[in-house]
Symmetry: C2
Subunit: 247 residues, 2 copies
Amino acid sequence: MSYCVAIKVNQGLVFASDSRTNAGVDHIATYGKMHTFDLKKDRFVFLLSAGNLATTQAVVNLIERDLTSSEAKVNLNTVGYLFDAAHYVGQISVGVQEEHRDFVRKSGINVEASFILGGRIQGKPHDIFLIYPQGNYINASPETPFLQIGETKYGKPILDRVISSDTSLEDAARCALVSIDSTMRSNIAVGPPIELGIFRKEELAMAHRLSLNPSSPLYATIQKGWSEGLRRAFRRLPRFDWETGAD
Amino acid sequence: MSYCVAIKVNQGLVFASDSRTNAGVDHIATYGKMHTFDLKKDRFVFLLSAGNLATTQAVVNLIERDLTSSEAKVNLNTVGYLFDAAHYVGQISVGVQEEHRDFVRKSGINVEASFILGGRIQGKPHDIFLIYPQGNYINASPETPFLQIGETKYGKPILDRVISSDTSLEDAARCALVSIDSTMRSNIAVGPPIELGIFRKEELAMAHRLSLNPSSPLYATIQKGWSEGLRRAFRRLPRFDWETGAD
């Protein structure tokens, strides 16, 4: 499993991912799931990936090959809209899965993969898209300003409570870190380091990129601060009638 | 879906459940999932249920019939240990599922159900058991003092952070409420009212039983207090370097 989340706020985009891959409990490895590409100066695109590692690696390889190959009919530099980019990645993903499906199905392995693609093309708004294993995709909306792939449930409640379109980029980034940290505490298929990217809408490059291990001072302070804050919030919850002697 | 949680602490037991059942989005109903039984004075047993409603209702009906039927070889009044009770409920559950499995499978419906059984029999310690759809069961341990069934993931992080064996009964109860409330905010298949039971180990009866709607003053205060506490915890998280002008 993996866990990736992208958040679209008015100021820009935040995207974050864990780095654990596992094919059974005795085959655990660390792989980055955050991909950026060397594109023309009028655009910035990132890709987060979850699912079958062979599929996601093949998809990233093909995207990069298309950027330099003269035979590619479309690539991330030629698309006019971000949704074109999402469509393009969806088609590559379906093609890769299709190629291996029959062989792999016999061994009971799932070759499916999901992606979150986001960024901005000059003159157009910033956005994020969730690309399903079937190749179709949805984008975020003002009412649903975040998208998740992989092991999504543990980290959703904090996003539901904190994130709205006018959340600041830094608060959205802190929320993404807490969301991934909560998931890591509850599910061993999600693990460090956490990769975090921050994109300001007025720039066409990543503003900040961090790779955080539990030993990183920032991560350790956020983890400790959040644990203490939760315990403090918990201690302040109202008492039951019988605790206050009212019964 | 449903969400039920039971917590075993040194002082006793807390058990809680939501009340929504759904068979598709246009077939939503409210059913209690917390069951207690009229037993001999030397024992207290509760049952939480999740899964196919026809299965869980049949299981409860059969448990109650066995309590009055002279033909029953075993019932909740005759078992000598709580794990005997878990075994007995598991056998009933498997029998009910087996009876309907062939017919129901043809219509693509899942008749599986899970249960949490807990309580105490005089002279023996209090405990909780998770009964799988296959009829086998596990109990809680000092390292894992809570058990969950149904839609378990959204509400697990707060349990992971707060609950240990020496948590007070009331704190465990507040944590169960927060865990179910978080789940309800993130998943519409889990809904109010929240039923909450508290059992003190030195008594052989339920100490407190509450049914909480979002409009109940206690629930509303806990919900508001928790939201505010989370936001406060969130505001106190450390800043990134670039926010403090360090870069």
